[in-house]
Amino acid sequence: MSIYLDNAATTKPCREAVKAIYDCLDSNYGNPSSLHHEGVRAQIAVDEVRKMIGRTIAADPECIYFTSGATESNNLAVLGSVGNGGKKKNRIVSTAVEHPSVDRALSRLEEKGFEVVRIAPDKNGNISHERIINAVDSNTALVSIMLVNNETGYIMPVRRAFYGIKKLYPGCLTHCDAVQGYMKIPFKVSELSADMVSLSGHKICGPKGIGALYVRKGIHIKPRTFGGGQEKGLRSGTENVPMIVGMGAAVKALSRDINERYSKAQELKAMFLKKISELENVTVNSSEDASPYIINISVPGIRSEIMLHFLEERGIYISSGSACSKGEKSSVLKSFGLCDELVDSALRISLGRETIGADLSALAEGIGDARKSLLKAK
């Protein structure tokens, strides 16, 4: 039996998604662009998912574009939305704790001469909406802020920041990487005042290789792939129908009980924190009002990777920092004000819809045992 607590890296696809993907591969294999009936069926399947995703974030389905995943969505949003049109605005505002698919895209723009302002958390680990708003000026082309930080679960003040920015600088575009918030915290695109929102399939019990980008009507984004003009020219290439359908099935399954799952995650987080508070010298890096789905802790003295492998032997799977960084030191945690010792020993525990209390008890016990045996060995 394995205990999977790395749901911020990826989730186990839900049964509904697996079945939908299989059925689609088996019997709905048409190319949505084909004029005949098989093509039409495939297109209807794709458009159904577009509608469903649209409904979950109160967006017009025509504003949902399918991509190969959130990395592509983030790249498209950041790289495609600036430098268009006549008036060249030169400034971009973001945070120092964004996902690399936003951050590295921003670096590309920096190389091209854009001024990128990355707001770091203050000494308490907070990023206030005022600080974001104050960084924006009339020369700002884009603001990109994630909804939930993927390493700590910190919930960004996106709504208040974007609201203020749109009031003060209506021409400034707003992008939100909502990957770690989608299907966990209910939100609407209008409530976020977001012009663009990135979503991922495999973080919500759907398949990998599929994501979506919401683009508000009237916003023009430069495509980065060229070809048959699918997705209204924004993302050429035959639609990945089976994975789109799989993502749709996952959305359908998960959208039913977002609030109930959130409350359950809160209870689990509280229970886990209580358990590890009984252990000596374990630091909780996630703030109290962070998303309960992501809990970041440090066990000083035990390097993350060693702890990870220790727990792995018991069939417990967690992550050190984010899964994308594969052992690299997390600059995000440093930005959140963690000292090197805490960064080196940071563990990310991320809950999923199947997580139960016993999983977290086993983890807490495992961490306790690791402290006993690993610290002694040293």
Binding site: V40, D60, S190
Partner: protein, 398 residues
Amino acid sequence: MQRRIKMQEIILIKYGEMALKGMNKKTFEDVLVKNIKRRIKSLGKTFITRAQSTIYIEPADEGFDIDEAMTRLGKVFGIAALCRAAVCEKDFEDIKRVACEYLADTLEYAKTFKVTAKRSDKNFSMKSPEICRELGGVLLEKFERLSVDVNDPEITVTVEIRDTNAYVHAGNIKGAGGLPVGTSGHALLLLSGGIDSPVAGYMMAKRGVHISAIHYVSPPYTSERARLKVEQLCEKITPYCGSIAFFCVPFTKIQEEIKNNCPEEFFTIIMRRLMMKIAQKIAAREKCLALITGESVGQVASQTMSALVCTDAVCEIPVFRPLIGMDKTEIVEISRKIDTFDISIQPYEDCCTVFTPKHPKVRPILSDIEAAEQNFDFEPLLQEAVEKTELKIFNLDM
């Protein structure tokens, strides 16, 4: 999103033209309330009451989505203006408190504002100008960026003192206007898939007409996608129209026989006459009192005045053409507003463009057309088309 202010929020709906009705006003109100209920039923429980020419929608469920309700109600005809408002006690201290909290987001970034007060309860201790002055002062002090502009304010903070409660809101939003759908009879819309016909349907629904739609398909000359496109158009106008019965008529044989038996220059005009005949048969069956088309005089050869005369000659019931005097640009503007434009311009062949003559008759003469139709007895085919017509219902909350 993260921090939502807990306070009671309701929706106030003001009706427009209906308020001018005399004896019938109650009938119109009843239909409007029924339409409103249907439109928001799926969002959760509400209490709907009416008083003083206003409809009050009070959410009874915790999770009631007021944003969504506002969006939906913005498409309900018969509503002149609507707004979301916070409920307060009829006590100035409470009004101040609620205004500061409820309008915080709106006023934080606004530059100019004014306060207006409506006092339908004349027993309230303060008079309207006094309420405006006092509340204006409080808000000015609290929100730094604000200044007063009584002529052209960005935000109009409104306080309404009514019978049981007081309400605070940041001004009305314009409603869809018109009359409640269902108060003006039932008509059948000829829906082609182009830009005009959905707009025509929208405009008649705005006058309170309950719409059904009829569409003609000619496979293999027209594709499944052409029909899907029209179904998408139905979906788009359903929020305005309430529900739409969509009739899809197989038209291939008729078009082929027109081609085989009639002079080419008359193809389109004869086709339109036959479409009208079928539409009337369906209209009679479905108890529709009139037909609606998206024709605009002079737009294409089949829409010249002479051509319209020839088409109308087969019509025994009225044909409403709400776009008759409009320019294409004006029609496009409405189609963008109701969001049908992008669907309408999808490039699928519809039956109107099948067998289009190279040189259609611009000024057809009725007797020539009638003579040309004598070459073939279309009646059995028309009957067959009506029998094979398929029905699909488009409903709200689909």
